[in-house]
Symmetry: C2
Subunit: 345 residues, 2 copies
């Protein structure tokens, strides 16, 4: 396959961190991205060049292009962290093994992004995708599914037979609902509005609480009594989350993995840290990848693929948008909020 000199890409307009905190919501991409031409990147030692087949749009991508993610932007580089594609070229033994294979990858922060026709990524981070797996499942194969899997592992290891999950109509929420049901663990799903309630129950959530319900507080208090959830997996980190944490029983852990809301939460009962042994901590997939052993990583990635291939997990795609139309169509597609948006070159 001949590789051209240039490629189309969605290109970052901003540099570094913006210092602002406007959250994951995005009305227009114009301030952050250009659609244009870039040189096709060249793989360095241990790297491969991947021809992108499909890239996913995660909340972390949106934070990143706005300069509000934990990692600084590189102006003029392609955006996008995650996708699936075919390995075209590369350097090193493992790269040679990967050549021609369909792989899932996570890259992006260092300068080569997934929202482009080609991306350069570290060969070691590529995951070979078995033929039975759809591109739609493979393109969002690492960030959300591995997060769901490893966060549910925290619940299991804690010994708690139930957990609370905020912003549960996210893809992550839907993925973890099935895991919870299969392992006989009661998921208490918190959502903002009712539209996804029945669907979440169908996917495996045992209880679904709607924040706008006037009985929300009373229902939550009752479930804290009967089900004794000791883990709160939270993508919002706002006052509602803080108050849920306060309502939870002794030894509860508030595990923050996202900051969808810009509100600063207040701790109403700091005495609970002392007398009820409560804790607040964070979860970041990048940290998990850093700390987990190779065996643990391989086992997790295999389990995640198997779950998709068996049909137990299925990525719900609401829109597949060509890169060339993303500036116009992506914001509206994201606003539906009920499934994943994919980009294709």
């Amino acid at each position: 396959m001949t590789v051209p000199e240039t490629m189309n890409a969605l290109i970052l307009k901003g540099h570094g961190l913006s210092g602002s905190r406007s959250g994951a919501a995005i009305d227009t991409l114009e301030p952050y991205l250009d659609y244009g031409k870039l040189p096709v990147p060249r793989p360095g030692p241990g790297e491969v060049l991947v021809k992108v087949r499909m890239a996913s749009v995660n909340p972390s991508d949106l934070y990143f292009i706005k300069g509000e993610y934990g990692q600084p932007r590189v102006k003029g580089a392609a955006a996008g962290f995650e996708g699936v594609g075919q390995v075209i070229a590369g350097n090193g033994l493992y790269a040679a093994y990967l050549k021609g294979k369909r792989v899932a990858f996570v890259g992006g922060a260092a300068g080569s992004g997934a929202w482009a026709e080609y991306i350069v990524v570290s060969a070691a981070t590529c995951v070979v995708i078995r033929p039975a797996m759809r591109d739609e499942d493979a393109a969002g194969h690492v960030v959300n599914p591995v997060t769901a899997w490893t966060m549910f592992d925290i619940v299991e290891k804690s010994g708690s037979k139930s957990f609370i999950f905020t912003a549960a109509n996210s893809q992550l929420g839907k993925l973890i609902a099935g895991l919870a049901r299969d392992k006989n663990c009661a998921m208490i799903a918190i959502i903002r509005n009712e539209s996804q309630a029945a669907h979440l129950e169908e996917l495996g959530a045992k209880h679904v609480l709607v924040q706008s319900d006037p009985e929300f507080g009373a229902k939550l208090a009752a479930l804290c009594k009967t089900d004794k959830p000791r883990i709160l997996l939270d993508a919002v980190a706002n006052q509602v989350a803080a108050d849920i944490f306060t309502a939870m029983p002794a030894r509860a852990r508030w595990i923050i993995y996202g900051k969808l809301d810009t509100e600063e939460p207040s701790l109403r009962e700091p005495g609970q840290f002392i007398f009820m042994d409560k804790k607040i901590e964070g979860y970041w997939l990048a940290q998990w990848f850093k700390r987990a052993s190779i065996i643990e990583k391989l086992r997790t990635l295999r389990a995640v693929q198997n779950r998709f291939i068996s049909g137990k997990w299925r990525t719900e795609v609401v829109a597949t948008i060509p890169l060339s139309e993303a500036l116009v169509k992506l914001p509206a597609a994201l606003r539906t909020g009920d499934g994943k948006v994919m980009l294709t070159p």
Copy 2:
């Protein structure tokens, strides 16, 4: 020794928890305590009767009598958690061994208090005091010194070569300053006003920061860079503490062991839990006693006594007040804030 039928005591007027949150400050004792007569309590199985020689006044006592501590009050019972006295009678083998000995004790919550001429406590929780130890050191022998010792142990085990300590002019702050210096660990002591700054440095604090200093924020930021403190031991749990935690480097742990301020702290940067692996947790001595092995407890108590006997620790007493005068004199003595107040029958 003949034991009388009745005794003098400071008696709780309130019952259970008050639901209020006014903090440790106390202007007058009248709403909370009566000075009067109670029957001398009788030891049950495994318990001893102790003739109190001296009782200490800790912040936890003040929270407790106001109904703001983690444990409910018993109306009509004597107040006071901690003291030193002589074992007069008891039930069981260990009680027989203790008879006649001078012991330090912690009791109080269940109905028999230390602010009285006699107290009944579990024999197992009594600590035999060696003759070389002063009553002033023995009376406050468990709550503060063991807390200081075990909290400093958290710092040591964390591997951090420095830590931040709020409300550092407390007895706890003074005790931990010496431990820090001896173990070559940099204590960054935070105090509200300058009066105790030189004394804290003399006791072992490497840096003393005064909150009213206009340069407070800049100095703290500089120390966070040079000394990289990863542990915040905090008795205040207010916005200043939350902002100190935000200024601390990655992997910082905010360990709350008291709630001196009634303000609700806001978490300004919840993203730090995710990207910087920060944590909030609590510390409660009662929990430590529950979890530590007997060996660990004995080793700790022996180490604490040795430190007092060797003169490395010395309880700074600002007032010793007879029970009969406590209602009048205790609030004023507490307001000096620069040392311990003791009560004697």
